[in-house]
Every structure is written in C-alpha cells, then in structure tokens.
Symmetry: C2
Subunit: 432 residues, 2 copies
C-alpha cells in the first residue's frame, strides 16, 4: 500500500441539508468501521452551507467553515469534494468544476447537474485524471449505479426500467388504497413534506427523468440526453383509471424505461400499466425499484428506499469508501470521449395499450369504436363494458401490441364517431 493510500482521506462537504448531515453523522459514528473497511481514516476537513449559525443536530466544530463552496472545493486539505447542494447550475456546478480543476475527486448526489452537464463534467474529470461518483443521484440507497456500471459490466444491456420517484409512487398507491383523487392525495403528500419545494420536479416526472438520463448513459454508452426523454408526469392519472387498471389486473406506475432500438435510443418517463403480480406492480408507497436487463444476466431487480437521510447518505458513503479504497474509473463506464451521441428514437417500440372511454347510450356505439380501432390496425385483446352510468357506459380495452401512431390514429378517429362521451384515455402497458 502506497503512502497516499494509507494517509487519511480528507473530505470537504458542501451542503448540510438532510443528506449532508447524514454523511457527517456516519463519518463521526462509524469512524472505526470505515477505517477497517477502507484501510485508512476518513476525515472531514471543512464544510459549507448557506447558513453557518443553524443548529443541525450534529457537531461541526471540528471542521473549518467556508461560506463559499468554491473555496471549500479547492482547499489544500481536501482530497474529495462532496457536493450535496443540488441544482443543475450555480454553486453546485461551479464548485464541482473548481474541484476537478484543482485535482480533487468529486462525490455528488446531484442528478440534475449530471443529467444536464454530465458529459462536460465527465470530460473535465477524465482530462484531470479525477473521478466523479454519484451513487446517491439515482434511487437513493439502492446501489444501482454500482450494479449497472460494475456488476453488469460483462453484459450488453437490453433495457433499464424503474420507479425512481418515491413521492409519485406514494401518490399513486395511496390514491388506490384510499380511493382519493389526484388532487386530494397530492395535497396530502405535500402536507406530509413528501414533495420537493417545486413539486413539479416530482409529479412532472423531471426528477425521475434526470435519473433515467444517467442510467441510459451507463447502460448504452451514450452521452446523457435528458432532452431526448419522452416525459409525462402523473398529473393526469385519475382515480378512475387506477381502479379500471386494477380491474384488468394492472397497476399504474410512473415508469422510466430506456432501451436501445433499431431506431435509436428510446427513453420514456410516463405513467404506464404493469401487471399487478410483477415486482414493479407490487411496489407500494415511497419505495424505489430499478430493473436491469442484460443479455447474460437476464433480469435483476433492485428495491429499496429512494430518499431520506440514511439511505441517501449510505450511497454517498459507498462512493467515499470506494475512493478511499483506491477505486478509480470513468464516470459513465467508458471514457467520456468514446460515448456516442444519443439519437432519440422518434417512434416508440410497439406495446399493448390500455384504453378507457365512455360511450353514449346508443345502439351500435361499441361497434363503431371497434371499427375505428380495426381501421387503425389496432386489435383488441380484452374488452369490458360496464353497466351504464346515467347516459354513458364505461368501456375498457386492452389491445394487442400496436404502435403509438396507430393508437393516436384510432383516438383521433373516435372523435367523429359521435358515440364518445368525453375524452378517451390511452396508457402504455409495459412488458415487465
């Protein structure tokens, strides 16, 4: 073991919110364990946050304080800059770049920064012979970056899927268990503090899409391409659809899917139906799940807490321990210069679809819809018509595999049949 590898690993931690405090706590409480496991002491030289005076319930008096995260990131007594501020621009990015330029390794939980600037940061890190590690950026405590980047390194990756926003999964599963509307349960989740300051990051699917963009890059050797993600949040999921989907044997999840197709990289973050007996279908509450599919390994499912002080700090510590043990390597699994530009697939892979519609109470209404579907090339796997409610009848259809274009053609044509009572709903059914 070289001298450098037996000297303490000295951290500078920027951001002392829930996760930052969790990291400080582990380093203080588990000092002996960390030294036994990494072969060296892990110490904190300095910390930085917006407000110095605030009581965070942890003793910070042993550490130097920096108001400016850039100053922290470039201190001589810092080997690793631990970025836990968040935000894709501003201080987080400035300090990360400063750290790399000053020859520091970086550990970050910042999914937004990596999803938007990951390529440039990876190029900078590799030019400086530094590492950026970010286990905490995706799915909290689940070691999914490690599983994909290292554990499945011998696989050609076929598909990566996941429920990666606990707040959305909480809302969807709570809607089902309580029968409440989206608006009701959104308010409840907000009241419980489950949502980001800007809730659109959660319910709009943006936070989960940031994570998906990172996983895509590792899985397929492409530059992170957040803009290439087909993105739809959960705001339009109704309790009626959750109940109807359950009736057909499905759950509705905000599901991220990335796969390489003959037409390019297909990245989707949208409400999908999955079988209620599948691991994804059985995932309740705020828990996260990521499914990795490789040509050799088949399907690996990882499940755990996607947020919170302990789980996220655990992931940050995994990166710190790896660096302490001397693990180096590229940011996204191969040199940043060799990552290909992602070509977003414009047409999506075929899938079965769930359709829910309300038909007016007229003879031949169902026949008209069936005709429209047939003319669009959409064939019906299963159909249920329910008892009439006043003047309309709810109808559920599960189609055979078809294209999104065919579904859109059919829905457009339904308008002119004169038998629709309200807008039809179409949701993709993901094969899991």
């Amino acid at each position: 073991m070289s001298d450098a590898m037996s000297a303490p690993l000295r951290l500078g931690i920027a951001g002392l919110g829930t996760v930052g405090v969790g990291v400080v706590r582990i380093i203080r409480q588990q000092a002996a364990l960390l030294e036994a496991r990494t072969g060296r002491k892990v110490t904190i030289s300095a910390v930085s946050a917006r407000s110095k005076g605030k009581d965070r319930g942890v003793n910070l008096s042993d550490y130097a304080w920096e108001d400016d995260p850039v100053a922290l990131a470039t201190r001589d007594d810092v080997d690793v800059f631990v970025e836990l501020m968040g935000g894709d621009e501003g201080p987080a990015k400035d300090a990360t770049e400063a750290a790399l330029n000053a020859g520091k390794d970086v550990v970050t939980a910042n999914k937004a920064m990596l999803a938007i600037h990951g390529q440039a940061l990876a190029e900078l890190a590799e030019a400086k012979n530094r590492v950026i590690r970010y286990e905490a950026a995706v799915a909290g405590g689940i070691p999914v970056i490690k599983a994909l980047l290292e554990g499945l390194a011998g696989n050609e990756i076929k598909r990566v899927m996941g429920v990666m926003n606990g707040s959305c999964n909480y809302i969807l599963t709570r809607m089902e268990s309580s029968g409440g509307t989206y608006q009701d349960i959104f308010a409840e989740a907000d009241g419980l503090g489950y949502l980001e300051a800007d809730p659109q990051l959660d319910v709009g699917g943006i936070d989960a899409a940031h994570k998906l963009a990172i996983l895509s890059s590792i899985a397929f050797g492409t530059k992170v391409d957040f803009d290439g993600i087909q993105l739809e949040g959960i705001e339009r999921v109704t309790i009626e659809d959750i109940k109807a989907a359950a009736d057909m044997g499905y759950k509705i999840k905000l599901l991220g899917v990335t796969q390489k197709t003959g037409r390019g990289l297909e990245q989707r973050m949208q409400p999908c139906l999955v079988p209620d007996t599948s691991p994804l279908g059985q995932l309740e509450g705020g828990t996260n799940m990521v499914v990795l599919e490789g040509d050799a390994v088949g399907q690996i499912v990882l499940r755990g807490a996607g947020a919170g002080e302990g789980p996220t700090a655990s992931a940050v510590m995994a990166d710190i321990c790896d660096i302490a043990r001397g693990v180096r390597g590229t940011v996204f699994g191969q040199p940043a210069s060799t990552l290909e530009s992602a070509t977003a697939a414009l047409t999506k892979l075929p899938a079965a679809y769930y359709l829910r519609m309300s038909l007016v109470d007229k003879p031949g209404a169902l026949a008209k819809i069936a005709t429209v579907l047939g003319e669009a090339g959409v064939s019906i796997d299963r159909m249920r018509q329910y008892a009439h409610e006043a003047t309309s009848a709810p109808v559920l259809i599960v189609t055979h595999k078809t294209t999104q274009a065919s579904i859109e053609t059919a829905i457009a044509a339904m308008d002119s049949t004169g038998v629709m009572a309200g807008e039809p709903v179409a949701l993709r059914i993901e094969e899991v």
Copy 2:
C-alpha cells in the same frame, strides 16, 4: 494510466462446464464492449478441464490447453486465474493456492471452497498482495457481493437474509402450485436437471449455507464459519404444512438468515415462514433473492437468477472487469488478519412460531395443548382448528414471539398429554 493498466488482462480459465463456457463466450463475443469499459483488452491465454476432446460448442483453439489446473494457474502468460471447477478441496483449492503463490489474482465461483477455506485463502491472498473475487459464488447473477462489500460499506449491517438455492425454491413453490408431495416434486426437479449431482447439496441446504457463511463474513467482519450455521434442509417440509401456512397468510421458504446478536453470531439456514405479501414470500420458482439490512440504508432487496450459464458468467465477468479496471481490496471487506472469530450464538433470537398438530377427537384436547403452551411460556397469537378428519383434528397455531427453547419445552410436554395424533410440526416465522 500505467503501462500495466493498458496491457491486456490475460486469463487462465480452469473448468469448462456451463459457467466456464459462458465466460469464454462473453469474452469472445463482447471483446469490444469489454475493452471500452475496462480500458484494456481482456484475453484468454489458456484453459483447462477434465476432458480435452469434448465439444463444448465454443471455439477453444485460440487458447493453450493445460491438463493440470495448477500448471494453468502458474503460467507466465496468465494474470488472473479463473477457477470454475468447484469442490472445496482438491484441484480447485490446489490451483487457487498455486495461483496466489505465483502472484496471480483469482476469480472464483466456488462457494464451498470459500465457505470452508475462505479465511486461509484470504490471508494468503493479502500476504501476496493479490485479490480473490467471487461475485458468482453467491446468488448467481445478482451482484450481491458488490452490493454488500462496496455498496453498503458505510453501514453497520443489521441482518442479511436470502433465498439462495433456486432448486429448493422451485421445489417448494411447485409443491404449492401442484399440490404434489415433496417426494413427487423432488423427482420432477431431478428429472429436469435442476439438482446437483449430489442433491443433498441443494435440498439439505448445504449449498445455500455455503453462501450464507460468505455473506456473514462480509457483513459482520468475522471469519467464515460454515460450521456455526444452524442447518436444516427442506426434506421434512410437507405439502400439508405448505397448505396450512398459506391458509394463515405465509409461504415456506428455505431462508438463510445471519445477524449479530448480543449472544454471538446467529446464522440459520432452515425452512421458515414469511408473509405471503413480502418480497421473499412472493418469490416463485428458481429465482434468488437477498435482503440486506443496514443501519443507514434500511432494507435493500436484490432479486435475479441464481444459477445458469448467463447469470453466473455475468457475475464472473463483473469480477474480471473490476480487476481489469484496477480495483483491488481485501477479500471479505477488511484485512483478513482483522476479521474476528465468530462466536456462534447458542440460543437464537426470539421469534413467532407456526405450530401444526393433529389432536385426537376427545373433549378437552385443545385445552390440554393450550395449557402445555402456557406452562412453557408460549402465548398464542392465532389459532385455527379444522373439521375433524376421521379420528383427529388438525390444529394450527401462530404464537407470539417466544424462544426456541420454550417451543421445544412445549413440544416435549405435548407427548405426555395423550391427545396428540402424530408428531407436531414447529417452524420459525421470520420477520421480514
């Protein structure tokens, strides 16, 4: 990057069964991907197996052949000895030791060798500044060694549990779905080639216990202690118990559990009941699942194929890629010299128990059993008596948390009540 890190990584592969052939296949088919991901070529210098002439469906003509695995392990053109022969003694161990002594790193899938000789091999490897990596030894394609050793390195581990023998889980879930007896389904599984040449390794729980011993060492910083495992196979699990457990909301699994208690290290591999709604309870067929619990991360669940060519070769490749990328480190997560001797806990942690018994058709029979349980300090959570079958009545009891000693006392006392029709069955209910 040093010269050594850009030179090809040269393998010597001993053992060309299913897994060995799978590894050769991946290295041939994914050469470009492996080079992109590790920064160097991964090549095979030589191979070894029992029969040179056998057609294995993969082209081996590019590689030197060695009849003797020790000769293979010590070749000058081999950097990493890949041991895929199996067996805790004999050629596998001899060649592994020879490889380490000759300054080679080792990748192995050999759970038996590590469970029995892991401590000595780790000491040898670390003395020689070499690594032994063994992702494939536990739970096939699931990257559980990596998750526990690296992904949860910042955690104090609380408990590790798993269903880690796919053949046993196949038998148990197939018994339930078909209603067949253990003997019937054992014969079916054997006919399908699902069992080891010595099926006792599977159904006796030995194979799964080897894996548990390895996980214990990493989790708790103790020397592998296979002999300290309380071991019971699935041979005595009856279809009656599977049905009765289902009736009470449970599944029976061959569950490995390891946890550190105030009384020492508690390692158990035995048929247990788990709630049918839990991830472990929902695990069907030959799939494996490992549950990791840490103080910071909470509970992480990993699920995937536990055996087979692709999954196991995937795990071997993860280790090879790590070595190619320059990852070093200790064998069990901290220096072998610092691992403590495990003190096997002689008394097990309290648990709820499932009891199934047949009572003779006499007034007061149930009261006698209830009295015996009460006198042993076992209190009843739930009880069901079923309709009498001829002269006896089946009774199911779920107890509150109690000790194994109390259960044993109660069962011993039941004998002399004169109301038992046959032997009672007691199974632990694991809180998952």
